[in-house]
């Protein structure tokens, strides 16, 4: 169970959260779209416990221990091996050692990384690093997974692979919130769609039967900006 009630937060004169309320239960995957500056990252940070909202409350069943976070960065330590990284984070989340080791092996196997398990992260390829990042976020079996613009800097192939991996883990009794400013990403994974603009939800509804182009069109109309056909920082533009 993940919910927010009238969340308010401002940075100086900028209102990042202006009365956000919602509730999600296990099995739901929310794709949160919005332009830069709409407050998506702020919302996710409030849900993760990184920011104390100036107004309103956020509730996460299970508290911080139940939250997994994936942002643009990997949160991995370069001079530790993949396994060492996983065990470190598991220890911080108070996962008992034997269970942590078992889970690390499982995740490495599912992500097809077992041979890389004892390699230092700094020598991993970009693709492997992505997988390691997912493993890190899942090592403590979080009930809630928050993803903040995880596709940043990924080319189309890497993004597609990432989506596949996410799809594997989505809907397995977890709540997932995926924030991005590109409407093309993450729609297929979602059970629910929300548009955030200037700190408010201008749309929040189950995905229903809408297709990705339909949603993109709707986004363009409601939010009033190009929903993502343009070039993003660090990403090569590819059509088709």
């Amino acid at each position: 169970m993940l919910s927010g009630e009238n969340l308010q937060h401002a940075f100086g004169p900028v209102r990042a959260l202006d009365g956000i309320s919602f509730a999600l239960t296990a099995g739901q995957t929310l794709a949160l779209f919005g332009p830069n500056g709409a407050g998506k990252t702020t919302l996710l940070k409030v849900l993760a416990g990184l920011i104390e909202p100036q107004g309103g409350t956020a509730q996460v069943e299970g508290g911080r221990a139940a939250v997994g976070w994936i942002g643009h960065q990997s949160h991995l330590y370069g001079y530790l091996t993949v396994r060492e990284n996983l065990l470190f984070w598991a220890r911080l989340y108070h996962v008992p050692q034997p269970q942590a080791m078992r889970r690390a092996d499982e995740l490495l196997a599912r992500l097809d990384m077992t041979e890389r398990g004892d390699v230092q992260v700094r020598v991993l390829s970009r693709g492997m690093m992505q997988r390691a990042t997912i493993a890190r976020a899942l090592i403590h079996d979080p009930k809630v997974l928050l993803l903040d613009e995880p596709f940043t800097g990924l080319d189309l192939a890497a993004a597609a692979e990432f989506r596949e991996l996410l799809a594997e883990f989505a809907g397995t009794g977890r709540i997932i919130v995926l924030a991005t400013h590109n409407v093309d990403e993450g729609v297929e994974l979602a059970t629910d769609i929300a548009f955030q603009s200037r700190g408010r939800f201008v749309h929040f509804a189950p995905r229903g039967n809408r297709s990705a182009p339909e949603i993109a069109e709707q986004y363009r109309r409601m939010v009033g900006i190009d929903g993502g056909r343009g070039k993003r920082e660090g990403e090569r533009v590819e059509r088709g």
Partner: protein, 223 residues
Amino acid sequence: MTLAQRGRIVSIVGLALLAAVYVRALAFTPVERFQGEAQKIFYVHVPAAWSAMLAMGLVGCSSILYLIMKDPRYDRFAAASAEVGTAFSLVMLTTGPLWARPIWGTWWTWDARLTLTLFLFFLFLGYLLMRGAVSEPTLRARYSAVLGICGLVLLPFIHLSVYLFRTLHPQPIVLKPSAPSLPGNMLATLLFSFGVFTLLYIGFVTQSYAISLQHEARAAANA
């Protein structure tokens, strides 16, 4: 009347009274036996140092209040107090040598008051420099509060260090008639000066506070 105007009036009155202090000190207060005319800078020197310390103390208290209440007014006040404290410290640090030279023959001495004020000056400078290096207002306020509180806690340790150092390594005689043991006339001048500096502190801080309010209003309008 706006805050800035009120501040300006208080400051002007304070400055006028400061001139009065000078007049009184120079013309109407007896000359000290051992140190001659040069001793009279004492009447400006001591209250200035005291005001700098008051400023630091208030920065610290305001910082504590800010962290508890999260009210930006406390942060604004702390910043204003720090600016004024810097100014007073600078005054003291420049008049100090001017005084030390004729009395002891050196420009600088590790006299307790001078040393303390030097410390305060560096603390204030660090505080203001850090404020300049952080652009986000809430972060800046929080960091400043942390620094302010640490500065406040440091004050007694500075006093202790200076005291301990001087008991182990006695310095040349410092003019130290402490307030109660001063003869009537001199005491009166000193107290008058204290009052004037406190008034100046209030006036300057009010002005500084008002100016930062204006800056924020302008920034918000431009945002």
